[in-house]
Amino acid sequence: MATHHASETPTVSKTGHPFSEIRSVLATDCGSTTTKAILIEKQTDGTFRLTARGEAPTTVEAPFEDVTRGVFNASVEVAELCGRTIVGHKDGEEFIMRPQTEEGGVDIYISTSSAGGGLQMVVAGVVRSMTAESAERAALGAGAIVMDTFAINDGRQPHEKIERIRQLRPDMILLAGGIDGGTEKHVVQLAEMLAAANPRPRLGIGFNLPVVFAGNSQVRGRVDEILGKKVSLQSVGNVRPTLEEEDLHPARESIHDLFLEHVMQQAPGYAKLMDMTDAPIMPTPGAVGLLIEQLAKATHQNVLGVDIGGATTDVFSVFSEKFNRTVSANLGMSYSVSNVLAEAGLPNILRWVLFDIEEEDLRNRIGNKMIRPTTIPVTLQELQIEQAIAREALRLSLVQHKAFAVELRGVQQERTIADAFRQSASGRTLVDMMKLDLIIGSGGVLSHAPRRQQSMRMMIDAFLPEGVTALAVDSIFMMPHLGVLSSVHAEAATEVFERDCLVWLGTCIAPIGPGTQGAPCLLVKLEAQGDRPAQEHSCKFGDLILLPLEHSEKRTRATLMPAKGFDVGAGPGKSREVEVTGGVVGLVIDCRGRQPFTVPAERSARVEALSRWGRAMDEYPEHA
């Protein structure tokens, strides 16, 4: 069977079943440690729903060295749970039975993958804040981890860069540089630097490293002369054809194609897996990003998505239809948990801890989580420590995302006197927390927190949403599966996403502004809805209030009347009418302050504040 190119999304399955007529989908995500399988089926009312989920250890490593082993194990678990046969046997080989018949099977099988460390890339451009940054955005958008970014002006000596490239051993390199018709010399210089380093791929000794050239199109011939014989070179449209324009699409498509054709062919069992799937395999973060991008587009919302894993934290955002993704490569909850401690600093973690703990004890506990990453907190204190660390990992990831998700730099702008006073410049962050409509959290610490209130608090404390923001979590980490499904059946992906994937937590209302503890801050009026009468809540500065509000198709109308100096999105002291979404937690009115938000520094005041906020949210058992 032929393999698909990412740029050629098929319309029928490999068994000839049109995607528009599918009744059942088996989707897997082959993660670093676990392969997760889900079964989606068309119901009698015509809607698609999740019907079963199974998982098994990923089998890329020895002694198995065949990723399909884990796929079949996870699929068998799904089959057992739903009482149908999915995995067939023929000549001693297993296979996913397709299409669906009375004997079992599914109509299509699709997959994403981040096993073996995902897609690891190096990018290069001429100017760090321009073409190199565009190249970085293209690689990240395609679902890669960017190991390093090289630029002519990155402050390193040429021999240092060459040495570093040689050491890195990426899966692929994206070389950008120069606008079309712009600098040639510097682009050639980058190509010469790569040629001198003669980089070798991470996997597959003796095969040429794939390099995508997406720079000044007039230098293609020269770049080919320099690199053509040393690497597997593919030239595509410039990521920055003009100063005012960024076009990441051709580079992203090319990265996906090379990922399938070169990188995955080198990983154990992937040639077989590619042959099994009915649509191109996508890198896991690429699939999540695609789903978030589509959601933002369909609902005309600004969306922030976060996936906090064991080793990395991915942040996705869509603001004013501009998509950005960042990977905080060493901010995670297990493998890299000690790095969160190193980057955030102990005081920042301790500010979220409700009890006294010796510094050395805390450091050792965090170190032990790093070396035993799969362990689970048994005691409440251990859980609270993990959730304190999660707040800091999420906070730092957003800081990094804000710094990266910026307007194009180097664009000439007409500036008025008012702009000069605002000190605004090109390269402003696109992430405006006041304009943010929805936050979606994913990853074990958020999706599997014992109480949903804890997930909501972690995200509110870490991201500090402003104004009115809805929050949700991915119930069982299904977004990768739905991302790849959306490429072949958008309707099925949307239905499962809304009904089974997202757990709506509720809405956070947070006025901006400093204040005095106990002073009036915000009056919230909720209109009557169904059996629930109209309500009015007067909130003081420093309060964190939770109001039960269930999720329903019809959102609740609310009038927000901030006190003088506080802003909920209409300007300081100005009222605003909004519609709010309920959820399993409800409506959180957060009057703890924004810009700045502070946790009391003094120990007893801090513990008192944290306990009060915890009780208000019914976060932990002792507060029940």
Binding site: H159, Q189, R222, Y335, S338, R365, I371
Partner: protein
């Protein structure tokens, strides 16, 4: 989860040890299948390409980039000495000539007429791969490396620092004592010191002075790592640290008694030559730090080091998270139903019997099977 498994650390007197010795880049394998090798014998070698230097020739000579190739007195591939003349500019009417000389000894790698730069490469650095353990060569991977096999004893640790060393095992203290500097105040040149529940910083400094090649202890304080390697270890990928004394921690961070089985095995092997490696990788492709003692005469029935045992009633387990962290118990029940913990988390658990007779509920994810 049908195929759930619990990771464990191997502590065994009789095990088949297989070491894949792989070069970082293609080279030459100098042994053949069936060769008996010692731990310090070279099994493969290669040349690490030399550092590349980019010289802005056009700028130094004050000429156009396109003129650089014609002014060069050396061509690509030529060997050059340090300070050797590479090019001279034509100057103005024969005057004001500029010279370009080589900043290094090496070869000319490339000359660019677009950027006006000359790439110079230093001589390659030869690197060799040792066998690491005494054993038999059982497999050759042409151009890449080989597999060395031996029967013998193996103790895996949980975290280590520093690379491959070898030396005679020396029991330095009981498994439940804190290691102090005074314990190392003697000549321990070439020794692999084993024992103790905590390797303190002063004890490690003394171990370095004593000439010990490795210290294997139950625990170490996380904060001391920064002092030892000079930076924080944010992700557990180690082994490349240049330490005079390799460290292997068998239990974890903090003061934790070394497991009896580990200590007893080390005691039995006291005085024997051991190979030790501190390299650790917790992510995909797990690498554990280890102490191995090959015994070429060992013919006993043995398990493969890479085999994964299953969790069963009676399995000896080490609890690896609070509140029973470090305690060794025995599995007495494996309930199928999910159980809610104090933290509110609902998970698969097991019931373990502790040495004092208590029966405690522990998440299955929070134990390691002690492999024998």
């Amino acid at each position: 989860m049908g195929a759930a498994y619990t990771p464990g650390l191997k502590v065994s007197e009789h095990v088949l040890i297989q070491k894949h010795r792989q070069l970082p880049l293609r080279g030459e394998v100098v042994v053949k299948v069936g060769d008996r090798v010692g731990s310090r014998d070279i099994v493969a070698r290669t040349d690490l390409p030399g550092k590349v230097y980019a010289v802005n020739a056009a700028g130094i000579l004050g000429v156009l980039e396109t003129d650089v190739p014609s002014l060069m007195q050396k061509k690509v591939g030529d060997a050059v000495k340090h300070e050797e003349l590479l090019a001279i500019s034509p100057g103005i009417f024969g005057f004001f000539k500029s010279k370009l000389s080589s900043p290094i000894e090496g070869t000319i790698d490339a000359i660019s007429d677009r950027t006006g730069r000359v790439m110079l490469r230093e001589a390659p650095t030869p690197i060799v791969m040792h066998a690491y353990i005494d054993g038999l060569v059982t497999e050759i991977h042409p151009g890449e490396g080989c597999t060395v096999e031996a029967h013998g004893a193996m103790c895996q640790g949980i975290f280590g620092l520093g690379g491959e060393v070898e030396g005679a095992i020396e029991i330095i203290g009981a498994p439940d004592v804190e290691l102090t500097a005074s314990m190392f105040e003697r000549d321990l040149t070439g020794k692999v010191c084993v024992g103790g529940r905590l390797l303190t910083l002063p004890a490690y400094e003394a171990a370095k002075k004593s000439g010990a090649v490795a210290v294997i202890a139950g625990g170490i304080h996380y904060r001391d790592i920064k002092e030892i390697v000079g930076h924080e270890i944010g992700v557990a990928i180690t082994g490349s640290e240049k330490l005079p004394t390799t460290i292997v921690v068998t239990e974890g961070f903090g003061a934790i008694d070394m497991a009896r089985a580990t200590f007893e095995l080390a005691t039995k092997l006291n005085g024997r030559k051991a190979s030790v490696n501190g390299a650790t990788q917790i992510r995909a492709g797990v690498i554990r730090p280890e102490l191995v003692v090959p015994d070429l005469d060992d013919k006993k029935e043995m398990s493969r080091a890479a085999e994964v045992p299953s969790l069963e009633i009676g399995s000896p387990v080490r609890i690896i998270r609070a509140p029973y962290f470090g305690i060794i118990g025995k599995v007495v029940e494996l309930p199928i139903q999910l159980t809610e913990l104090e933290s509110g988390t609902i998970v698969r658990v097991l019931i373990a019997e502790l040495p004092d007779g208590r029966r405690v509920t522990v998440p299955r994810a929070n134990v390691e099977i002690i492999e024998r």
